[in-house]
Symmetry: C5
Subunit: 264 residues, 5 copies
């Protein structure tokens, strides 16, 4: 009961931020989130110790500056914000940025880092990737293809998890049939969680020291824990040279709420 | 003799904190510590060098602020506090937080980190996990099942040790029979220490860069050292990709005592 | 459409800096970029937090100081500048320095680090290398040799990526025939991207903790991502002990623009 | 000749500190150094950069405070002090603490870190261990057992070296006969150095991210270098997952001398 | 032409410092550089950011203090100084210290770190080693022995490179014949570079987390790069667990010049 109430509050915050109203003439975020060829940058920040020495008024005006930067770039980038503070050491929050050119992501982040708050942010991690069409789905059997169409449960999914992945050389050198077989097993392991865990994949080879950025949203962290265990049990797991390190576990929060937490 | 006296003092402090009295209408801590599906967060902190530049009065008022945060969240989270200072580099203390939603753990820690003391805390490590029912006990022979019911020796157990664990891919890919056989050997190695070493297990896959968080309490560190050696000698040890790093060795201390040490 | 406009602006900036006019009697940069036996140093910097506390006038005068150092050394070194801020954690920009003696690179960088801005720069990474003639091209079949002569598409290539590489002992101990065969496969994987991705190679063994510094320029990061995936799929990839770590993804920007960003 | 004079000076300092006179009613240090079941903590410190900004008088009074802490805990812990400055990066000195309860070690170190100097100490490394009886000696042939009774050469041994060790899973899983055979070879390699290199062993499994802490004293670092090479040549070396990292090479110095160096 | 002029200037500086004149009654440096049983310490430093906030006069007087420390210890240690700034991240310069007792090296470095400049130095790396007679030369064929007597080309060698090395357990456990064969191949690979690259070897097992410190001087970094590639191609390279990390590439510079650079 209590849990649901908590989710509802988070969800309202989320809605407020994600759909800022029909009057906003910004990028088509929903399209960016679905399209291939979209560049995603995950920029993770930790507030430095000097930030806390600013007085309340300075922090409030700094928050306004940040909001203006988000608005200014609303025509080129779509953004989501997440609170990591408390759950991940060395990180307070991260911004997920989507656009059709990596340069837009950079320009937005350069402006964000140039604000008063930005000058107090330590950029702990940054992951860059690009979205693509599914690699292995065409090779899957029909029943598995059908299962993949299961719609996620409605309702808010307040938790987000980002897991960067790097495969070993053997994975890449394995032929397409071998990879298809391993990915079939991998996909089967995920079907039990399609309703409660949403997933998005970014390809990162050459854009970062990663091959993939995997992004998840869920309301049920116990299901997510079981999903990852299921994925650890398939043979493809032998080829994960890096899986996490860092794992970013956070909650989806509107920018306003994150700024409010940093301004207290 | 002296040793016992020391333990007694620590134990009294422990009791004072853990059972704050029947009038407190907070979470049912005992239930949280036994239930499955409970989220545990281990948040490890080091006080920064500027903290020590505050004067005594500022530090005393900062301590009061911290206590208020613990009380405010007493309805949603159960907490335990541990002193690492002196025994673990880069860490002064940690808080173990339990609740039925990871969001509660985060909200408590965000508030704690937002206090005057909190703004001087470096969050060295954080581990997140979830409790579950036993995986392997059902497959154990009856005599071993019976042995596992040995109650721990009464009396205080002032030392706590946290060892994060990550298994290799081969462990996860091994079939259930193979894992059962290895866990039987593992369990046999622990029976000699059931009386003097208490243990609690958290599952962490996907919630952190770990598979398990193992937590121990003991009054006899020599027994604990022997227990770990016994566990190093079983074949399951081949599958520990990470065991410790960090190992957190500390003493259970009430919040008041930790705050007093940091306020001297 | 918009993307092209963005590129055009970047390109104009780039031209302004790279070809500072016929009246400049500096090193022959074009020759340095083509010759073998040229020493290249990649010096990566992060501005420290105190920099931002300087007032505008101080920062403007610091920028002028930096420009004077670039000019002073224009007779011995050729330089290019790149913005990493926003896309790479722990780095704001890097300078690529070319000259006929490593000592010139050092003297230039010592002067740069001795400016007011320089004293606020943290030198995050430095890579040193030397250019050489192609090792494997002579052994390639004629059609592949011909393909390698494909000129890159005209037009600006605003993105630059630097990937440091270290091979394993087995790579070096493999005989020339074995290496030729692997490099033939490697080269074949790159032909599809010769038009959209420019590449330059530096040899680093003994000059740094690397064997190679690979440098790329492109306007199409999706092609670059595919190129790296193609290279991950060839057997030579088994011998990459280090590939990236760090991968530097940035945009080519004239010094003036970088200084302007740091002076805001 | 000069070398001997230097050693004599160090030795006098050492004697002054280690045997503070018959009137001191502290722990029986000699017994602690011989007994099994004794807890040893090696706490390594680096002075921070702000320490040096204190004026001379402040530093002198800080030194007196430190001495008082050593005296206060003289009833529960035995201590030795070592200078690392100059020979080990990131460390200025370390204290070796022995007592019958790890809690005593912690309480002493908490008090030490709570002094004015302590608040300027960065705790670079801490190793915790316990002493035990010899594991392998009973299985050695009689002549080797006899050799092990060789008394060390008299005279001061001004150098101390600490090498933390972690074995691999195969070591622990190897049966007792296999370990006996490897330890016989190991022990034979050390006999040539029994006169010039003293050794003490601590068991650390579960108390730290180590299995052993090996501690050495010598006047002849060339012999010590040869001893370690001899140990690298035996098959047991295959099972050292960690050997050093860090290796602490320092000189035994009385507390007064270390405080004097830090107060200049 | 220009390159030669540069070298000449560096060389004159070098001469000034290394041979301070016949009137100096210090250690016999030439003997220390040739003898076995000599202890070498490589102490690498980075100036901290506060150093640059001192005014010119303070820095000049700090430089004089440093020179006095070098002179004071001239009876016990021989020193060389090297500029890394610009070519190695996290390091500005290093001092190579030789003496007959490690204690002398420590006492010199403690005094150096106790100066006003020293208190602003971060000790990034320290390597300790000892010189010994050649291990493998006696087993080499006569023509290779003769080749090793090739004198280096005359003229200044302004570049110095330090490469720390750690071998794997298999290297150490390999019998003398096997090592002789590998070192024969290793030595053959070096003969082409005997004229242009000078080399000195230190043994470090137990004195540091290394087995060897290899030190090189050259005027031709292209030759040095080729030498290291040649060494990567021999089978002994399979046994290098660590080779570099860090590689220190710098220029030999007299103390005065380094102090001048740091005082600008």
């Amino acid at each position: 009961m209590r849990g649901k109430a908590v989710f509802a509050i988070v969800a309202i915050g989320l809605l407020t931020w994600c759909w800022p109203g029909a009057t906003h003439a910004g990028v088509d975020k929903e399209k960016l989130l679905k399209d291939t060829g979209v560049y995603g940058t995950f920029a993770v920040f930790k507030v430095d110790e000097d930030w806390w020495k600013l007085d309340k008024a300075a922090r409030a005006s700094a928050a306004a500056e940040v909001k203006a930067v988000f608005q200014k770039h609303g025509d080129t980038v779509a953004t989501d914000t997440y609170l990591l503070r408390g759950l991940v050491e060395k990180a307070d929050f991260f911004v997920r940025v989507h656009s059709t050119e990596m340069l837009h992501n950079q320009n937005f982040l350069v402006d964000l880092m140039g604000t008063t708050l930005g000058k107090h942010l330590v950029n702990t991690y940054t992951f860059n990737g690009i979205t693509k069409g599914p690699n292995y789905v065409p090779s899957l059997p029909d029943d598995l293809k059908a299962a993949l169409k299961t719609p996620p449960d409605p309702g808010p999914k307040p938790y987000a998890i980002v897991v960067p992945v790097r495969k070993d050389a053997e994975w890449w050198i394995t032929g397409q049939d071998g990879k298809n077989a391993m990915m079939k097993e991998h996909t089967e392991a995920t079907t039990a969680y399609l309703k409660t865990v949403k997933r998005k994949l970014y390809h990162a080879s050459g854009l970062d020291d990663l091959d993939f950025i995997t992004y998840f949203e869920t309301a049920k962290l116990d299901d997510f824990n079981n999903l990852i265990i299921a994925l650890e049990r398939v043979k493809e797991n032998r080829h994960n040279r890096q899986f996490g390190n860092p794992t970013l576990l956070g909650t989806i929060r509107p920018l306003d709420e994150i700024l409010e937490i940093l301004s207290r």
